[in-house]
Amino acid sequence: MFSRKVTDSIIEKLIFASGIAAILLVSLIFFFLLREGLGFFSEYSIKDFITGHFWYPTSKPAAFGILSLIMGSLFVTLGAAVIAVPVGVMAAFYISEVAPVSVRDVLKSGIELLAAIPSVVIGFIGMVTLVPLVRVMFDIPTGLSAFSGSLMLAFMAMPTIVSISEDAIRSVPWTYKEAALSLGATKWQTMYRIVLPAAAPGILAAVMLGIGRVIGETMAVMMITGNAAAIPESIFDPVRTMTATIAAEMGETVKGSMHYKGLFAIGLVLFVITFIINFIADTFLNRVKK
């Protein structure tokens, strides 16, 4: 009897510790970012940092303007969203509402498999196959562009968008659909008018989480977007994203230098952006539950 109580309380504490660990880790990461990144702003104004056009971190005097990097991340992310969201949501509808059971199983595991492909492999495939193709197809100077990056990243966002949207669509109560169908609505009308609005918060959350994945992606974008730190004029221009900048330059910096702190400051900006996106996604997910 006594030993059962002891085991019980030990297990309880273990679970509690695991639950707290995640939050603790996130706050530790955040404080570490703050500690390393905030010092940057005592020597470089936030305004010049956010709105500066030039990123020449190793020149003297160095320029740490990340507007072109923010624009780069924005172009790639928006491009990927424009491709992945409609395709992903339609795929989710097909899987949960239209496909026969056998097809559904194959599709679902296939899409989940897509999530398992490492991003460096996606980047490499894109570099070898997509980049030359994009250059010839659109007759642009180089295929290393935001567009190529968007296309490859759309593949990476798709699994998240499809599987979470599919859950949301499936959790729409049967009674809604039965009521619609019994009133004479066609299958398409039911999907479009009844299921879509009912599942909308969940689908929005799926989209936000997919976008969160895209904006934080590093390896694939570094390999195929060209990494030119200039403000892009079109989706077919080469861009440099914030993540690729951190990854490409962190190895060279001397600990504690301005460049080092500047990269952490970029990390801080990224953290804030992904935090906002996740927060929005969470709000929508909560609304689904109610």
């Binding site: 030993s3 056009h53 030039f54 990123w55 020449y56 971190p57 190793t58 020149s59 072109s68 570099m127 980049v131 030359p132 250059r135 100077p141 180089t142 295929g143 290393l144 570094m222 390999m223 060209g226 990494n227 030119a228 730190a229 200039a230 080469p238 440099r240 490409a248 330059e249 190895g251 060279e252 910096t253 001397v254 600990k255």
Partner: protein, 294 residues
Amino acid sequence: MKNRVIRISVVALCFLTFGCSKESRDNAALAKSKSIQIKGSDTIVNLVQKWAEDYSSTDASLNIGITGGGSGTGFAAIINGTCDIAMSSRSIEEAEIKQAEGNKIHPFEYKVGLDGLMVIVNPKNPVVQLTLDQVRNIFMGNIKNWKELGGPDKKIVILSRESNSGTHMFFKEHVIRKGNKKSKDEFSPKALLMSSSQAIVNEISQNPNALGYVGIGYMSAELKAIAIAKKKGDKFVSPDIDSVLSDKYPISRPLFLYASSKDNKLVNALIAYALSDQGQKTVRKLDFVPLRKL
């Protein structure tokens, strides 16, 4: 129930102690063996690798670890005390020496070879020769279209290395800023920053609009090296070992090894091998330029 728990923990304990003792044995072995850590320039990583292989074939207990990443990476490692030798394709900067001395490290420089930087394009590109000024204006973004150079009406795609690369720094200082320390000229922000020389070669071999710079060791049939003239009216010289060694080709640079101290016997022996006739022959074999005629 209790019995099983005890049995499991005994087994786990056995594994743990066994694992520990094995690991500590390995550690002891590692401490006894002699090891050198080398980091830095991607340009010469293959050359240093070859030196290390040839040299350590005489001494099996010698353990040499070599990683690339760029000259800046090597200097950062020397300053942070995580390597014995930094490979570099540019000389160390004042600021870097100061930072190293702050950590009680006094890097010592050895010049171990030369390298010519070629400006390369796709073989389909009709342009064969440029003056140094034209090259500079292309990389600064002042010349934007191949038709200004006698080519087709296509935008020029500029390929550069990442800013941690010694090749990038050298090209900026000697071509873009023409060796003038006070100049603030920069690469055009539209330049694509590639993570390695191989990435530049890959893009150029499939893109006729692209232009970039790499060491002469990267020459292949998929590329065309541009002949360069120092100024308008001068003779155009193609980059090769002879033209670099005779100083006729205008874009060439020294290659360095930096030791983290003067007194490490292992490091000194390796560098002495690199500077020997045999080591310099390896330089030539890998398409770099040796320090002297062999």
